[in-house]
């Protein structure tokens, strides 16, 4: 099916659209080129407060400490997307072929390795590139590999335990945020002495949650469990 056969725009609009988009590109390019070199001093503030944040990696400090509220909302967005996907119906029936010998052997070797790598990425996020989202993505990749070979969770685990794991990241984040209010004074204001441990605790729960959410998103629908009605 040729792409030119299916256009959402009548043919005579296209030159106007191209001119408009070229002008937009020119405007954006001019805006980028005319930016001052160092407009906002956020980078300096991050460097100055890095020791008080509890981690040595500035990106993890920004994600989990200085802008922790954004990360909390991001986990809520992930959950919302999953709720949206689940509300659209059950998993579509697929007539998948049986996995070949290469895929089966690869999955047997790769999945434990990927779980290990996810654990390492979670730990390394404090001082090197890594963190909850990277580890969660690797976990989700291993989950997708398992799904591709036809493995599914047992019915017993698909009801409440699955939902607990899905909610663990956001739940732990909010709980820690509320729990530090008496100590720090504000929501998500970690006390500097405990910040490193709290960040690791939040990231661990978030890793499991993100891996589970992304794997569930891959299924494309609500997998029916025993308690579903």
């Amino acid at each position: 099916m040729n792409a030119a056969d299916h256009r959402a725009l009548p043919k005579h609009f296209q030159p106007f659209l191209q001119v408009f988009l070229s002008a937009l590109a020119g405007g954006l390019g001019y805006a980028v080129l005319s930016l001052p070199d160092q407009a906002i001093a956020l980078k300096g503030m991050v460097e100055a407060n890095l020791e008080a944040s509890g981690v040595r990696n500035p990106i993890t400090a920004v994600l989990l400490n200085f802008r922790a509220y954004d990360t909390l909302l991001e986990m809520a967005v992930l959950l919302l997307a999953l709720i949206g996907v689940w509300s659209l119906g059950a998993t579509p029936m697929r007539r998948g072929a049986a996995p070949g010998p290469v895929l089966s052997a690869l999955v047997q070797g790769l999945v434990p390795l990927m779980i290990l790598v996810a654990g390492y990425l979670l730990w390394a996020g404090a001082h090197a590139p890594g963190g909850a989202f990277q580890a969660g993505a690797v976990l989700a990749a291993s989950g997708v590999l398992l799904l591709l070979t036809g493995k599914r969770l047992t019915i017993r685990l698909m009801g409440r335990p699955l939902r607990i794991v899905l909610l663990a990241g956001l739940g732990v984040f909010i709980t820690v945020g509320i729990a530090v209010i008496p100590v720090g004074g504000m929501f998500l204001q970690y006390p500097p002495s405990l910040a490193g441990g709290l960040i690791l605790f939040i990231e661990a729960a978030a890793t499991l949650s993100i891996g589970a959410i992304l794997t569930a998103l891959f299924l494309g629908g609500r997998a029916l469990s025993g308690g579903d009605r």
């Binding site: 959402a8 725009l9 659209l17 954006l28 080129l33 500035p58 967005v77 989202f133 494309g220």
Partner: protein, 103 residues
């Protein structure tokens, strides 16, 4: 420093290409791909502008924003793809229906 500005301009180019595809293409899957290309363009602009710093260490704040953005883009793409599957299951077509000219 010039290379990072080049990354930012490339990101703008990707954004414009994605926007053109989003408007012009009728197939829903192509629209989702175009949205993803737009997102990649925006991320490239953010990271490119974040690396413009005069000293060697790049700015961590835009990189953290891009990490958040990537995750949100994944979630939105998953929801969009499921919606496309649903549209196809309900109507049998992968393009949105033409609007009637009169109510």
């Amino acid at each position: 420093m010039m290379s990072y500005t080049l990354y930012a301009l490339t990101g703008i180019g990707l954004f414009i290409l994605g926007l053109y595809s989003l408007i012009v293409q009728a197939h829903l899957l192509r629209k989702v791909i175009a949205l993803n290309i737009m997102g990649s363009g925006v991320f490239l602009v953010l990271v490119g502008l974040g690396g413009r710093a005069s000293n060697a260490v790049p700015d961590p704040v835009p990189q953290a924003m891009v990490l958040t953005g990537i995750v949100v883009a994944i979630a939105a793409t998953a929801l969009a793809l499921t919606l496309i599957l649903r549209v196809q299951a309900e109507t049998g077509r992968t393009e949105l229906a033409e609007q009637p000219s009169k109510h």
